[in-house]
Every structure is written in structure tokens, then in C-alpha cells.
Symmetry: C2
């Protein structure tokens, strides 16, 4: 479980009771030489396979035939992507950094723009869209509205301030740079949503999940996710030409109706339906629930696309339907292998999309760093001010805890890229922002969270 963090830890964080009950091992840092040889072995393996594949391509594919050769290339790509993601994640884990940053960086390195170990095929592009549907379904599955209500008012103020300020800052910057409005909107949307997994992981590591600060952060981050979906719906609508207030209103209405449908109708319906389904089908409860969840996930994502919203919005709301079911923990366990298979591949593909040499030019990098700075300032200022009542240090901790962007921001950038609204440069800048905010937040949060009376930073270092 510790190998991944983005979402399973959100679950651990928000559903703290369940997490405390689970017999999850913690493994100390150790065996560094073994790891080094492992990493070395992995890199050698990658290099060897890349050479093999280059040889196979040069020789025209051997006896495998045309179709067979394509399959071989795809499997090789998947192997390289998966191993690269796991190595990058493991290295980041050892440096006490978020796994997702390691996966994206690994993608940048092995991607077509740097080492060129993987060839960006059309299949992988579509496959990533499928991965992200499952990712957002699982993110939705971790949202527990009941938990939200406890910290509701304060968290919603924090969430709102933390969305508006970064969005406004991003829009202002893009306007100042004279970028087209649709692109500016997408960048703004990518800046709104916090990746709660990274912060939840830090909070959980430090045993502070039950503090007021943690509850506010987690509550606000979840509202952020929902708000991010609304913003994405509006932004997609505007860029697709729905510029009148009426049409935007329809999109917001559709999204809200979707959410209400999921929460008001879907959840009770599922609670009523599932016992009947268990009784009337021949499968085990686990596999029936799993099949139902997959079916609803596909149906809602397809429905969202059909009515003009993004597929992930439907997937996210489908997840919410199942999140408070009695059997939700079991369903989350069933989704874990799918998460562990698809999500690293997704993030490494997102990294591979980045044109790294171009990103490092003076045309692109400075703006990327400014976007990153605005992303941090926006959340720290917005959320910090909104939670000033908790005290200065705590308010700062809330702001920093809300700073990391992760899956949702990247997905928004991906949608913009695939619609042709976001340029490759801006895509790279947004991914950079996601990686840097994810790297910056955990370390600072660890410092801010230490209750000064109880532990010095050294003790904290030793105990974690």
C-alpha cells in the first residue's frame, strides 16, 4: 500500500477509522545497497530492451508479421512505461517525495522528446483517456460527503478562496501574455484543484490526520475536486463555442444535475439495489458489486461525454455513488490492482507528452516557473487568509497543504491538449507546475506541522 499514495492515501486519510483498522505494514528505510543494485538492474534492463526493440525495428520485424510486430512494440512500450514509472516512484519515495512526481519525471526522461525509449502511439493516447476514467472513478470513490459535513462551512470557504485566487492569477497572467482566452481558461482550471493524496500522505505519516488543520485541508480538497469538475465543465463549454450566458448556465446546470443525480438518487438507489442484486445473481457479492461499479463508471463517463461534459466528470460522480456504500472498503480494495496497473502508466504517459528540451528553453521555462509561483501563491494566500482563524502557523499549513496539484490539473491540461486548445508549451508548463508544487509542499508542510512544544524537527525526522 505504501508504494502508491495519491489516492489510496486519500482514502486512508478521510476514512481514518478504516485505515486505522487495516493491518497495513510500514517498512523502514533500509537495504539501500540492494535498492541501488535493483535500480541499476532496472536501468540496464530498460536499455537492453530498448536496443532489442531498435534492432527489431531496423531488421523489419522478423517472422512476427505486421500486426504482430505492432503488438510487440505496444507491449514493449507498456513494459518500459510501467518499469520507468515504478523506478521513478520508488526513487521519489526514498527521497520522501510524492510518487506521482517521480512517475511524471520518469515519463519526461524516457519519453520521445528525451531518451525516446517509447514511441507515442495513437493507441496509448486513447489508453491514457481510459486510465484517467478509472483514476477519477477511484478519486470519487474516496469522497465521503458525511465526513465533509463535519468541517463543511470552514472548508468550503477555504476551498472557494483557494480556487478563485489561483484561477484569477492564471487568467491575469495569460491575458498579460496575450494568450487566447480558451487556453487561459484551461490553465486557470488546471490551477484550481488540489491533489489531496500528497498532503494526506504527509498528514498520515505524521499522525496528524485528526487535527483541525488536517480536517479542513481534506474537506476543502475534496470540495476542490467537485469545484474543479464544475470549472472544467464551464471551461470546456466556453472553448467549444458556448459563449452565451445561457449556454454556460446549461452546462453548469447539467453538471450540478449530474452531481445531484449521483448523490441524491444514485446513492440511495445503489444502497437499495445492491442487496437485491446479491440475492438474485449467482456471483459473489464482491464480484457483483465490482461489475456494477465498472458498469456505472462506464455509463456515467459515456453519458457525460454525450451531454457535452468531460468523461472524467461522469467517472468522478460515479465514484461518489459508491463511496458511502457499506461495501465501499471492499470495492476500494478491488480497485487497488486496477489503480496500481493503470495510474502509473497514465502519469508516465503524461510526462512523456512533455517536450523537455523545449520546456528548458528561455521561451518556455520562465513562464512555467511563474505559473508555478502563482499556483503556490494563489493557494497559500487564498486558503491561508480564508483559514486565518486557526492561527498563523496553522493557516499557513492549510495553504501549503492545499498547494500540490496532481491528477485533476494534469487531466485538465490533457483535455485542453487533446482538444487543440492548449499548446504543447503551455501543456509542458502546467505539468511542470504540477510536479513542482507536488515536490515543494510535503517538505514545507512537515516543518509547519510540527507542534513546537512537542517535538523538534530532529525528533520528527527520527520518528517518521
Amino acid at each position: 500500500m505504501r508504494g502508491r499514495e495519491a489516492v489510496p492515501d486519500k482514502q486512508r486519510a478521510i476514512g481514518a477509522e478504516a485505515a486505522a483498522a487495516g493491518p497495513r505494514e510500514r517498512r523502514g528505510v533500509g537495504g539501500a545497497p540492494a535498492f541501488r543494485s535493483l535500480a541499476l538492474g532496472g536501468v540496464c534492463l530498460l536499455a537492453a530492451l530498448a536496443l532489442t526493440s531498435a534492432g527489431a525495428r531496423a531488421s523489419g520485424g522478423g517472422a512476427g508479421g505486421e500486426g504482430g510486430h505492432e503488438t510487440g512494440r505496444l507491449l514493449l512500450d507498456l513494459f518500459i512505461l510501467f518499469v520507468g514509472a515504478k523506478l521513478g516512484g520508488e526513487i521519489c519515495l526514498r527521497l520522501r517525495q510524492p510518487v506521482v512526481a517521480g512517475e511524471i519525471l520518469a515519463g519526461m526522461i524516457i519519453g520521445p522528446h528525451l531518451l525516446g525509449l517509447v514511441s507515442g502511439s495513437e493507441f496509448l493516447g486513447t489508453f491514457a483517456q481510459l486510465c484517467v476514467v478509472f483514476l477519477l472513478f477511484i478519486v470519487g470513490l474516496e469522497v465521503e460527503p458525511a465526513g465533509l459535513l463535519r468541517v463543511g462551512k470552514q472548508a468550503s470557504v477555504v476551498a472557494l478562496a483557494g480556487m478563485l485566487l489561483p484561477f484569477g492569477l492564471a487568467m491575469a497572467l495569460m491575458q498579460w501574455l496575450q494568450r487566447p482566452l480558451p487556453e487561459a481558461l484551461f490553465v486557470g482550471a488546471a490551477m484550481t484543484a488540489t491533489s489531496v493524496g500528497i498532503t494526506a500522505r504527509v498528514l498520515s505519516d505524521m499522525g496528524q490526520l485528526r487535527t483541525r488543520v488536517a480536517q479542513v485541508i481534506l474537506g476543502a480538497a475534496v470540495m476542490d475536486d467537485i469545484g474543479g469538475m464544475l470549472v472544467l465543465a464551464v471551461v470546456s463549454g466556453i472553448t467549444a463555442g458556448a459563449l452565451s450566458g445561457w449556454e454556460i448556465g446549461v452546462l453548469v446546470g447539467e453538471t450540478c444535475a449530474f452531481l445531484v443525480l449521483a448523490v441524491m438518487l444514485g446513492r440511495p438507489a445503489m444502497r437499495r439495489l445492491s442487496p437485491g442484486l446479491y440475492r438474485s445473481t449467482m456471483g459473489s457479492n464482491r464480484s457483483v458489486l465490482f461489475a456494477l461499479a465498472i458498469a456505472v463508471c462506464f455509463a456515467f463517463s459515456a453519458l457525460a461525454e454525450v451531454i457535452g461534459l468531460a468523461a472524467i466528470i461522469g467517472a468522478f460522480f460515479a465514484g461518489i455513488i459508491f463511496s458511502e456504500l457499506e461495501e465501499a472498503p471492499e470495492l476500494r480494495r478491488s480497485m487497488e490492482p486496477i489503480y496500481e496497473l493503470l495510474v502509473p502508466i497514465f502519469f508516465v504517459l503524461m510526462g512523456a507528452n512533455v517536450d523537455v528540451p523545449r520546456l528548458l528553453t528561455m521561451d518556455v521555462l520562465p513562464v512555467g516557473l511563474v505559473i508555478t509561483a502563482l499556483a503556490i501563491i494563489g493557494k497559500v494566500a487564498g486558503c491561508g487568509v480564508a483559514s486565518y482563524r486557526l492561527g498563523l502557523r496553522e493557516a499557513l499549513a492549510v495553504g501549503v497543504g492545499m498547494a500540490p496539484r496532481g491528477e485533476v490539473g494534469i487531466v485538465v491540461a490533457l483535455i485542453g491538449l487533446s482538444k487543440g486548445v492548449v499548446s504543447n508549451d503551455v501543456y509542458a508548463q502546467v505539468i511542470l507546475m504540477s510536479v513542482l508544487t507536488s515536490l515543494f509542499a510535503p517538505s514545507l508542510l512537515r516543518v509547519l506541522l510540527v507542534p513546537p512544544a512537542e517535538a523538534t524537527p530532529n525528533e520528527q525526522e527520527a520518528s517518521s
Copy 2:
């Protein structure tokens, strides 16, 4: 667990100790009205969604844009395929028939040739190739050579006879029909491999897993799988132009080397490597093993393609590497959700490939039925004669138990189809053969297996 049978039951059957220990629920048949309304609801849902999608297509896609609309179509296809597979499987389960037959039949019905609810996209074709890699990996994961050795000699004679006779009969038929040699070879190859899951399920249902007959069937079926991979390698090689004895020898050598590599080197290496990996990485043992298994599965499949074998051969051998690891049961549990997600989609897609109206014409159907008859006769005669020492009724039970073809035969047909070696008509005939042998065997086996002194057929009916 009872929802699926092809492979998880193989595991249950061969690793009978593990199965007996697992707290797997069994659910009685009941709630038929609830099921009927459920099925009705599902069908209505399917129809509604198909209409929605037709409407969306007619109106040109709405605000989603070009890329977004394609994603929506894909998700809708996946939804229809998945729900169709689950409904078909459930119906077959209630009729005490193999799930896989229901999934294939569902695919035939909703596929582009009959109802046309799904559009066969290029993505789904490649996706199926990926599904089958996981399917064969999991099949390999169920192979436990130690269990094979107990019944080794007798089972290998049965397996060999049960492969040679159907292969020869198929070749003779295809030659008589003056079909080209490569196609004949593929049909022969598709006739060789037994789908052990279906028989294992019947044996397990009747509590006869530990009888001599069951052990011989299960042992021979596993050898069948390995033999089927060898035959596939040779057949693919021949059809790709490697007609000289030398080149065929190389292919067989490669496949055997692959097997030896997996069993002799891979298994001990994995046993040694995994504790070190657990110590030296930060992930939980479960997730590290899972990542390792996925990486090896991708690597072996890609390697198999690069050296000119089919990807599934590599995936199958990769599965064997992990099958006798101490942690194999845990790995199998981790693979279950992936199996439950991908395998129904695979079989339903295989059904959707079948041109049903064409299959039902007098040009195609009679040959399909003859192929089916030869498939049954070949196994019953070949395996039955080879196991005559067990007694007439038992020998017949072995023959019938070996008759169902499933995943491997279908995969062989798919490879032939995608290479352009197997025609659409012959593909449809092979799928028909797979479905009919799977439907025929369980009922007959139930009759044959009742020890006459202990229970009448009626009692058996009541107790199972």
C-alpha cells in the same frame, strides 16, 4: 468468485488445498423474478443507451468536439460490451452453463453483424490483444508443475493423444475442403488446447476434484496448454514463411528455451529475488510483487513477439514463473479484479467479431458443425483411448472432460484472423466450435461422473 469460472476455477481445481481453505461463498439458485426484472432492466438500459448514442451520432456530436466524441463512443462501447458480457454470463450461469459461452453469445448478439450496438473500432481490436495477454498470464499463473508430476505419465499420454487426433482430423477436413495449408494449420492448432476451467468447475461442483479421473483431466489439460503454445509457435512460424525443417526447429527450440528459461531460471530467480525486493523497496510486499509480475508479463510478451512468437506465449510463461511462489495465492487475488474487468470484455469482443448471419448460412454452418463434431470426437476418442485403463465410464469422462475449448482456441483463431491467414468464415466456425464444445461437455460430464452406486442423477441434481 462464482461469477467467473474459466480461470479462477482452474486455480480452485488444481490448487485444491488452497481452494478448500478459502472462505468462498456459494449461493443457491433463487430470486428468479428479481433476476428477470434485472435482466429486463439491463436490456432496456442497453437499448436506451444505444438510442442515445445513435441520436448523438446523428446530431453530429454536440459540444464534445471531435476527440471528446470519440472517447464518448469508446466508453459507450465498453459499457455495452461489459454489461452484455455480464448479462450473458449470468444467464448461462443460471442455466448451469459456462460463463464464457454466455459472454461469446452476448458478443454475437450485440456485435456489429446482428444488433450493431457496438462499433468495432481499431482501438478495441488492439485492446483485445492486451486483454488476452493478461488472460494468458493468469492462465499461466494457475499452472502448478508440482501438481502435474503426480499424474505425470498418464496425463501426458492423454494430453498428447488429445492433441494429435483433433489436430489431424482438422487438417484432414480442411485439406478435403481444399482450404489453404496455413488456415488448416491454424484450425488444427485451435482444436488442440482444452479449456480446463469449464471442466474444473463441473468437477468442483460435484466434489470430485480429488478423484483419479479429475487429476488426469486437470493434469492433461495443463499439458495441453503448454503443448498448445508449442503448436501455435510452429503454426505461426510456418504461416509466416518459415517452411524449412530448420526454421521450424528454431521456433520449437525458442519456445522450449522460453519454457525452460521460465521454469528453470525464472522461478528460482523470482524466489530469490522477491525477499530482497521486499526488503529493499518501500512498497508493501503485495504491491511490489504485483508490480514485478506486471513488469515480467509485459517483458516476456514483448520478448516473445520480438523473437517471432506470439505475445501470449510469453505471457503464459511469465505466469508460470510466478505460479509456485509462496505468495502466488496473494498475487492471484490481486489479478482477480483485472481478470474480471478485462476478460469479459475480451470474450464479448471475440463474439462480436463473428458474422452471425453469414455463420447461419448453408455455406458456413455445416462446416462449423462438422468442425465441432471433429473437435468432440477427437478429444473423446483420443483421450478416452489413452486413458482406457481407468475403465470405460471413467475413460469416457476423461474424453468428455477434455472436450471444451475455450480461451486458447479462441486466441489462436484471433491471431490467425489478425494475420489474415484465417478467413472470417473459418473464424466464425472456430468460435462456434468453442461455444458448442463448452456447452456440450458440462451436462454430459455431470451424467458420466455420478458413481452409480452412490447417487442417482436426481440426488446429484439436488445436492449440487
